[in-house]
Symmetry: C2
């Protein structure tokens, strides 16, 4: 590819011509690729060793093992069936992508490569999810067992279990992209190959979407269903072994939080890697291949920093576990920042590059991560106003609790949006300053590269964050096992402490995930625009003498005042609302099936409530599994189908609707290249992303606030447990469940899926 496009590409970014790129890359530069791959492999080895340490842990009493085995079987059965469903969908899409590329002689040469990248991305994503869950469903019982002797032992066990996920996810993303880059000939055509990797991001997103949707529906349907029929109808406590849905509930924590979030973060790093490499390719004249390999090195640093961070975490029986986890995070962030600065100095500096500004971009990214985490805490912790206001509103019943929670949820995007806007503006400015020595490169390209660097900075401690996140479901499960196997109170106290820290880390990770999605959004838009430009350049070059490419033309004009773009924007925002609606309804319907099964079991076997016979946990697990997998299909297909439909429809109508502004456009035989489909899709992508970010914050933080308002009341406020206020707060918590664990996290993935699907299918819209 891009033999013809390369010079056009350089033209596009430069007013003055530069000397063409060298045909091959010097070995001193390609060393960076080998370093990144090497660190990736070492991280996998480290993960393996960690896993061995975890698996060598004590597995407690026989009662504990019975429960743990039931969880493990349920989770593995779900994952097996889920991957089968996703596999079928992925193969169908692979065929579509292949033929979509194959029918046009221009894209034909990339058909196979794109499909390979897609499948590798999908498989790596699935593998990352599977590995993470494999360890976490074994770490839960070992954490429970360790909690019998010390808090520190349990904390380290859970965090190490989580770290396996973190390391595997980031390492697989790094290795997947690196190996594809190598295999597609990136060392000989470094500028062309990054565009061929877009399939990797799409494969990762597709698996992530279904993993998060399916897992999210599963976990909340089981949770809500178990609560509705157990706590409310039968009056038995949470995690009571008499509840036939209790194992399904514990399974849900693993398939939703572990496997789902693992796929989510895998996709974030994959999409960010590919997007940043495309921008690096566009800036090849400035940085050479080092600019393209820089994102991979950042993740190598991420892996090293996170391993150190995990290693330093320890606590004692009196400390708040959260403090220990935070210490680990600060160590990770510190190392990551130092490494980041060093990598910038070594890879991106040069006589004309003011590299200090680029380090500044990285600092902006990390600061954004910190601010997002802080804001999330403000909105979801009971010591601040928002949660307190919900708890207080519970005094006048469920209606005011709900109104108050929704009001808090709708307030939450305000501060983060200001932070994102500031981060974008700052890093853009820093980018223009850093590259001020290149008068030939447009300010826009410089600025966008600054935002890309900030995104990498933000994701430079992703592995540790993911370890903290997976810590959540492990400790949650450990608590359930301790509860169900009736351990002494001292053990329960320890797991309760860990569980509480786990709830906090889960909420914080969501803040981090949506923050990175927000910041990465602009990077991915730019990659899409650059991809479209490259395709058009290619197309015009193919047309030979009939094609005219205006000097310096680039596709950076997504004009909201044009009807197709505005219509695309409306549809993009609508997609977010409809997708959320479908996800929430799916939870409701699946929960109804759980309720029905539990009621049936109680009726068929009165011994269950009497405690004389065991409920059929597996039947309930099997019902939720089937229903959740069925329900994930419609929202998933909508998310994939709408952008494609918009692109194809507007491709055919756009000539009527073009605003006709924005300077000269490329022509073939004197006819302007039809950019309507690509523009409408860009509108959908950008405004869909904005709506998605806001709605995800509403859902995540609103749900988290409801949850903690309930917990705060349970701690004795406003009458404590069993008061009327508590009943009202339980209603809010139940409403918040599908918000924060199904729709919200799925929206993170949706945002990135929109970006990667448009990247891959851009040729169809032109």
């Amino acid at each position: 590819m891009h033999v013809g496009a390369l010079s056009a590409l350089l033209m596009a970014l430069q007013d003055a011509p530069v000397s063409p790129a060298p045909a091959t890359v010097s070995s001193s530069d390609s060393i960076w690729l080998w370093i990144a791959l090497g660190v990736g492999v070492l991280a996998l080895v480290a993960a393996l060793l960690l896993a061995k340490v975890v698996l060598a842990g004590d597995t407690g009493t026989p009662e504990m093992r019975v429960i743990s085995n039931a969880i493990r079987e349920g989770a593995e059965a779900f994952l097996a069936r889920q991957y089968k469903t996703i596999g079928v969908l992925a193969v169908v899409l692979a065929v579509v992508v292949f033929f979509g590329y194959y029918i046009s002689p221009r894209t034909q040469p990339y058909a196979l490569k794109t499909v390979i990248a897609f499948l590798v991305g999908a498989v790596c994503s699935g593998l990352a999810g599977f590995t993470g869950m494999y360890v976490s469903i074994r770490a839960n019982i070992r954490t429970a067992s360790a909690a019998r002797s010390s808090l520190n032992g349990a904390l380290q066990m859970a965090l190490r279990g989580g770290a396996v996920t973190g390391l595997v996810v980031v390492a697989l993303s790094l290795i997947g992209v690196g190996v594809l880059f190598l295999g597609f000939g990136g060392l000989t055509d470094p500028v062309g190959v990054p565009y061929q990797l877009v399939g990797f991001g799409f494969g990762a997103s597709l698996v992530a979407l279904f993993a998060q949707l399916g897992g999210g529906i599963y976990t909340k349907a089981a949770d809500v269903g178990a609560d509705l029929v157990g706590k409310v109808e039968a009056g038995i406590p949470e995690d009571d072994p008499r509840n036939p849905a209790v194992i399904a509930d514990l399974v849900g924590d693993n398939v939703g939080d572990c496997a789902g979030r693992g796929a989510d973060i895998f996709e974030s790093t994959a999409a960010e890697n590919v997007g940043a490499m495309i921008l690096g390719a566009a800036l090849y004249p400035v940085f050479g291949i080092k600019g393209i390999l820089f994102p991979l090195i950042v993740h190598a640093i991420n892996l090293i920093a996170s391993i150190v961070g995990v290693a330093v975490v320890k606590t004692n029986d009196t400390e708040d576990p959260m403090a220990a986890l935070n210490r680990g995070f600060y160590v990770t962030a510190g190392i990551a920042l130092l490494g980041f600065a060093g990598a910038v100095k070594m890879m991106l500096s040069g006589p004309e590059v003011a590299w200090g500004w680029l380090v500044g971009c990285g600092v902006v990214g990390l600061a954004t991560a910190f601010l997002f985490v802080w804001i999330t805490q403000y909105y979801t912790e009971s010591k601040y106003r928002p949660v307190k206001s919900i708890a207080e509103a519970s005094l006048t019943g469920p209606a005011t609790n709900i109104i108050s929670g929704l009001a808090v949820g709708m307030e939450t995007p305000a501060m983060p949006v200001i932070v994102i806007a500031a981060a974008l503006l700052l890093s853009y400015y820093f980018g223009t300053q850093a590259l001020a020595g290149f008068p030939g490169v447009s300010d826009y390209a410089k600025g966008i590269y600054g935002t890309a660097i900030a995104t990498m900075g933000m994701l430079s401690c992703a592995a540790y964050i993911l370890a903290m996140d997976t810590f959540g479901p492990i400790t949650d499960n450990a608590g359930g096992i301790v509860e169900m196997s009736e351990q002494p109170d001292s053990v329960r106290d320890r797991t309760d402490k860990l569980d509480s820290a786990g709830n906090t880390t889960k909420a914080l990770t969501k803040g981090y995930a949506i923050g990175s999605a927000s910041l990465a959004a602009f990077l991915l838009f730019s990659a899409y625009l650059e991809e479209v430009r490259s395709i058009v350049a290619d197309k015009v070059a193919h047309a030979g003498a009939a094609g005219v490419m205006p000097a310096g033309w680039s596709f950076t004009n997504i004009n909201l005042a044009e009807i197709p773009v505005f219509a695309g924007a409306l549809l993009g925002a609508m997609l977010v609302f409809l997708f959320s609606s479908l996800a929430i309804k799916a939870v409701g319907r699946t929960a109804q099936m759980v309720v029905k099964d539990v009621r049936d079991q109680f009726k068929e076997n009165p011994g269950i409530m009497a405690g004389t016979s065991k409920p059929d946990y597996a039947r309930c697990v099997s019902i939720v599994t089937g229903a959740a997998l069925k329900e994930m299909v419609l929202p998933g297909v909508l998310a994939v189908g709408l952008p494609v439909a918009v692109g194809l429809i507007f491709r055919n109508f756009s000539s009527v609707y073009s605003a006709g502004t924005g300077g000269p456009v490329p022509t073939i035989n004197g006819i302007p290249v039809n950019l309507g489909g690509a523009s409408a899709v860009a509108g959908l992508l950008m405004v869909g992303t904005i709506a998605g970010i806001l709605m995800a914050m509403l859902m995540n933080n609103g749900g988290g606030a409801w949850d903690n308002a309930k917990k705060w009341i349970e701690s004795g406020q406003y009458g404590g447990k069993k008061s009327e206020a508590h009943k009202a707060a339980v209603v809010g918590d139940t409403v918040g469940d599908p918000f924060k664990d199904t729709a919200g996290p799925s929206l993170h993935v949706l945002i990135k899926l929109l970006a990667t699907i448009t990247l891959v299918l851009a040729p169809l819209f032109l």
Copy 2:
């Protein structure tokens, strides 16, 4: 103004130069202005006559009069205090606008005119709201009295009361714009004057925002507060005279629904009139002054058609009153369409205009109105799936009721968004076809004019729709009066029937209002872009030889890929979320004050519950009044302040962030005119509008669906009244109240306020 700008304006719209516009307008053309003004005055006379007919109605029994008087006094006291608060805010803003214009020598000549237009708009809007309420708080008792003899009498009384509002609102909007146009010299400078009318729209929006916010907070705080403490705590029925908040609740229907919605629709027509006249001015070479006066004539037709429509409505004691109201609507729509087609033929035809296509645009607009109304019915009536699904979910308690209602709410924007997108695409296409005979005019200008015509078509039956809307609170009040004065069951049956029809019309009007806001949005964007272009042209012309205006330059490029536009877009969407949050919280806080007062009254005076002494209605009314007025200030100030802040901030930073695409830009002394502030504001406006439309639909339809799910259960489904399902449905209804009657309708106004404030303050952003 625009002496220098005029030729630039024509240049902008035309590739080939045309002969300049004539300096004065022939009297045969100016006749249209006189016709429009004449019809406006006649409509006011008709409204006066109708009011006399209504006021001549019987005022029933002394018991009824006691209640009605209490409502009247409360409503008038609220309105008086509300207008005082709004007056202060309006004067402050008038001063800001005056100095904003006065400091620059370029805009100085328009400072006074803009402020005059602003104040006239504000006063007319206030007057429209006041008149409507004046009649409706007198029509309520007369409707109640008429219901003692026949349903037809009561129906006609209520509809005529509503018609007074409808006619006064539309006529004042027409007369206000027409007189300002005349007074500012529109007959000698028809192209320049429309730009000077933008203040009128802003004045109308400002009053509408506070009227709707204040009224919306009042009505739902009183309603929720009365229900919480009356129905839930004291166990007395709705509208029970022992409840001290019952009069406040009935007052709320008037100040929220009558005065608020009146100001809302006044603002819609005002903004649409001004926006369409600006586009007409931009197309002056095509249509001459007739294109500028056409929007006024459309509203003259609107008035005539609506008078006929109201006159034909009659029913008997057995028919569903909704059927009679619908007949009136069909008659109105039919006459409006015929008149519209006639006006197009007479005013917008010509040898080169294919005017049939323009009639097609009008049909698209009317069809959009019908589709919106139908979709609203689908989502809010109990015979369709959505409401049934909420009712069914109530069986498992309040949590599932809420989840299900929110899911329905989030689903609702899907179909309307597709309708809007289709309407925009169709009317744009029709516009290009209609004006295909003008090769000099850009396709974009033609298409946008098509969408403007469609908007006028949609609003061409606004007066009748508003009459149906105000019918709602009148019948609601009549029902309350009948209930509280303990009339026989036959009378109650009649008012119940009317009340039920009133609930439907209120919901439908909201669908209509949001539909018109959606369609008008594009018209108002275009007016803003045209306004910016005109200011820039003016500025460049002022600079004399130092200024360079590229041939054919127009400001139609709102590039989402530029950081300032994207940041503006993010902030615009965020504003919608934050504004909704503040509005909802305001209701919650005010409702708490009602609850407290009612509890205090019950405690201080045990005779109230025993029925031996009267509660102090006025104290409760006074408390809600004060609280609602206090609470409306913060969201209102946010809505006004954020766009201004974004414009001013990005005005100063934009040179760093411009994408540098989109062809040549105007320069002064070789420096490009700084468009960053104007672009960021455009991003805020457009994406804020998109988010506002979706969120308003979520709120309106979600709220309506919850309400009707409760009513459906009350009709005997799922156990009927007092069942557990009913209790759950009451929770949903209470949550939906501030959604559908405070935040949702206020968002309609917010959308249009954003459009008018940016129009007026555009000079500050450049």
